[in-house]
Assembly symmetry: D2
Homo-oligomer: 368 residues x 4
């Protein structure tokens, strides 16, 4: 009888879902030549470890926030809800998968290998059976991940709870690196930036990542920007992401900043902006204006790094997201009229190279 | 060994919590003479029935949104997560209670008795053991609720999945009413308003309620306002709420509107606003200005219902939340100079009486 | 000596302007086949009549708000600042023109012929000398405008100060129409919509317009949307606008709504949205989802106007500005699998035809 | 005839004003013991010098933004609109005064004495006749201001156009100071902070000020906060302001920061916040929570400056504007249970003393 009642109820809920409509806010960051720019978050939790939400919620949330791919990485070793939740380590993935397929979210199976430092916490993506990662010895858990073909990265390497004073690289990380097990590193996790991780990524050829590590909801934990790993792929698929991670084609995006290799940052910047003017014909003592439109979600903060020849231009510019900025150029020399192209030398303060330096760029406008 | 590892981990998490600080956004609606105005939501779900969040999340969310009291009302009969969650019907309350105590949120134990129409869905608040409500026969479930001393109300009476065409009152509801079991009714649930429920509340002495019935998160489901039941209590406690519900001292607050009895709406309005001016000395053909400050979160929309004697005033006024509005009065008769008090006759379009009519009010300012 | 001091000061201010940079927020409404969609406001005031801002401010404001063209239409007959401002009727145009040229704003010379009803207030655009419009007789002022080649339209035809009870068409308007002087009409002015004007536009072949009539600032007078006349032009120039106005290629855009001819509304809608799916292969009893992305600033509100054949779809949809919406289609008949294209029948509630009816549209998705 | 027409028109506009209603957003910063906290802006321009708005607009804008008093300080020596505006230096005050009286804004007559450096630009408040300030010699202009009983302060002392490299105090300023002419200084102007001015204010007994120096509109020039000079007065009047300025009872409020004397900053902070808890009874190894509510518009950023005895508390706290923050205290010693009062030692990072240091504060909660 309860069963019959239940099926009547389920029918009601199905009917209700039949008029489902909801909104997705796309993230506007341009593709770059040869690659799609995919927006991914590879670190998050559900009630199946110490998170506060059901696995399908993670998919819905990711869809609404414009992500292309996520990985639910519940802890293997830390299960505070186990008194009430009776499930194996693959369940959060299994529960989330059907909705991910329906919504077109690429769901990558993952788990967090959760140990004290060293080696701290590691995420294993593209695993096949999370249950086999439950080992007493952390090294064996990592070996198992490798055996399953996982892509493994070091989470929040400077987390104060594990590295209270200084952010150290331990010999265990060298061991993981040399064994070809650990290939990536979070330079940003939740609200924290780890500049050391950027240096290590450069020196040791690690893939940079920025992930939310969200336990509650993105809405409650992040005011405007959620951390995202931008992945530059040949195809919009799990396979494309896998290959890109292996080939270090990523940029960390967090707090309105990007950190990564120049070969990705530079085309993102130049594919975001457009200078509307044709030749401006600037002469000495004259003022001409140029229009710079930024079609991306990122507000670029430019700072002049050296003077231009024959004219002056603003020392600080903010190219606001989805805005057009007007720049005034003033001729300061008689030479300027003969210059075919006017070059303005800036660095982008919120685009950071692996060296920690800002991306240098040159804005150009034809003069005749 | 895993145990030792675990305890090390738990220690880390406790340390992290030790620097916990978070923000609560208070709801500014004034108390009224003789009563506290408590902000309550008596209808919500967790992963323990068909919700998407862990019980503690509901408490944290309520705290941040400025609520005073909530009830988690997981379904007794509908448990779609039962494959993974192995728990009895009291668990969501038990899990949420310690955090509620720490945060000062009054948590009222409740359950949703979930049946097809009639009688549809009913919430039982102030129950002692939710497990005993699991009965094949809905009437027996209701009797058990009564036996436990519950306050029972009818949820979303016009829910289209159960009442697709017209919102009917069934003989089963008369039976519940006459047995003294059902004492309240939702006039607003989630995003839907049921005007019939307002009429029934008036005719049959039911306590009006507005609740979120949230399954996911408030942030995702509601843009600005979440539905709230305002409860007017003698003391800020579960006991105070209980007594107020029984004595029908509530107002439904939803979508920037209030619905309820004039004896509550009127003092809320007048305790929200303040006219700054002393005597204004308005004469014929003159214009004088008065300042009306609204110190509440509710933007009141006023519409003139009859002309004033001796002067004119704006026909439509919005007293914006936390704003001061300037009103111009223009003398239109020589009589006006002799009037001690100038009276302006409005109705408040977003304060609705049980009759469905708008609350009439009179603004007064001294003239000499 | 004061002169020398002055020139030193001016130098300072010029230097300051040399580092000028400011933001423009583009309005995202798509072009339509064969035409540019230009965003124009043809009605506004400055301190040279009864406005509160200097003429250059109107240009700067328009630039920041993403407009393509404006006309400053100071009153000829109403000059409340004349005690302090000693200038002829062409000055506001002359002062604003250089900045308009620098910023790329098309500035159309205009004036407001300001009379009691009938004929009320009329704007004359594309005039050559505003001073000649100062005539005692309104008909002579209009004839002069025509002589200068002006495009003339009737402002706020239902303004309560002039038409307190009903919005009438006077014989004077027929006279203007028949003389070929008056060719357009504001269906929206400031905050007011005049549905009668829409009907007259249809019946009498008038160009529809929506303008701000701003006297203070747009920021203070409009919360989100400012009224805009969308003009569909062959070229992005004053000439292109002139021709489009004459050929009635306009749509009124106000309060998130569009009003105008179907031949413009329909391509605006379909150029704003994109359905991502290829063939979805929907079968009976199945649910499939389709993605609809809206790349414009307009949130479209869709209401189903008749059922689809073989499947059901949501009855109400909001295609939010710059958002992707997910729609669930449910197979309700065995026929559906054989249908090559699934058609969904909606009307767009915020796109209004000249008849006052909503724009009907058909959404289509391939099924096999 | 034109005259008759005109009077008909004026009537229309007066009628329109008769239904005037608009909103004022109050600034929530508490009064302090013995004084009202008045919000003032003593530096702004209109079309009567190089501003872009009509004088009444400044009053309306100030009213809407919650100010108590303003001074319109048009330049005496720089009049770029003089070709079109034929008026003396008192006109902007005369035009604005009637609306200021109607709206209850205290309008203080002022002018800007505008010279190259030294002495740069000076504002003279409480003058009686601005025309007499038009002198070739700057010293004579200043003497005239003094003769009229003006309160004079130095504007934007580090303005780059006049002090491009370093912010210098010139002998001319010493002369002004010693002659008792110059009594105040802007530590903040428009978007720029001058830390040197803070030091000089301390060393030379100058009244600190923060003003907008707005030429266009506040909405276009400031995103959230407009600079405001907080003036602590005995009465809410021009006289009260005058006396407070002379007695240096001011604080500069800009960009979410306050700068001024400890005797004002400290009571502002403590009158803004309220700790809800009574005795908390914290023991060793226990965690207790306290609620801190901030009822002001200022978000206070607290940083711990020394550890507490017997317990730990968060090292960084943001007491968000109009929010309640929850703080966790953890007992770390057996002594704690015997402590009658728990003291937490912070500095408020956005409350700056004249010395440039942050305001130190002690939060206290009873323990038994």
């Amino acid at each position: 009888m309860i069963k019959k009642l239940l099926s009547a109820l389920i029918l009601l809920f199905v009917v209700q879902l039949g008029v489902f409509s909801q909104n997705r806010q796309e993230i506007s960051i341009p593709d770059i030549p040869g690659f799609f720019t995919m927006k991914c978050d590879f670190h998050m939790h559900t009630v199946f470890s110490d998170g506060n939400v059901w696995p399908t919620f993670r998919v819905q949330e990711a869809w609404q926030h414009g992500l292309d791919a996520i990985s639910i990485t519940d802890h293997i070793e830390y299960l505070p809800h186990s008194q009430d939740i009776d499930a194996d380590h693959n369940r959060s993935f299994e529960i989330a998968k059907p909705l991910a397929d329906q919504l077109g979210i690429i769901l990558i199976q993952g788990s967090e290998i959760t140990r004290k430092m060293p080696p701290g916490h590691l995420n294993a993506l593209f695993i096949k059976n999370a249950n086999l990662l439950e080992r007493e010895d952390w090294w064996e858990a990592c070996l198992e991940a490798k055996e399953q073909g996982a892509f493994v990265f070091w989470n929040h390497p400077g987390w104060k709870a594990q590295q209270p004073d200084t952010t150290l690289w331990w010999k265990e990380h060298t061991r993981l690196l040399e064994a070809g097990i650990m290939n990536g590193i979070e330079v940003f996790n939740h609200h924290d930036f780890y500049p050391e991780a950027l240096t290590w990524a450069k020196e040791r050829n690690l893939t940079v990542m920025a992930n939310s590590d969200v336990h509650g909801t993105i809405d409650m934990n992040f005011e405007s920007f959620r951390p995202v790993t931008l992945v530059f792929t040949n195809e919009r698929s799990a396979k494309g992401i896998r290959q890109a991670l292996e080939e270090r084609r990523t940029v960390a995006y967090f707090d309105g900043q990007l950190a990564g290799d120049r070969k990705f940052l530079s085309p993102i910047f130049f594919n975001s902006i457009k200078i509307a003017n044709k030749a401006i014909g600037l002469k000495n003592h004259e003022v001409k204006r140029i229009w710079v439109h930024n079609n991306s979600d990122i507000s670029y903060k430019l700072k002049q790094r050296q003077p231009s020849i024959g004219f002056s231009c603003p020392s600080d510019i903010t190219l606001g997201a989805h805005q057009t900025v007007l720049l005034e150029l003033t001729g300061t020399s008689d030479q300027v009229i003969n210059m075919g192209v006017l070059k303005m030398y800036y660095e982008v303060e919120n685009l950071q190279l692996l060296s920690g330096e800002n991306l240098p760029i040159v804005l150009e406008v034809a003069n005749k």
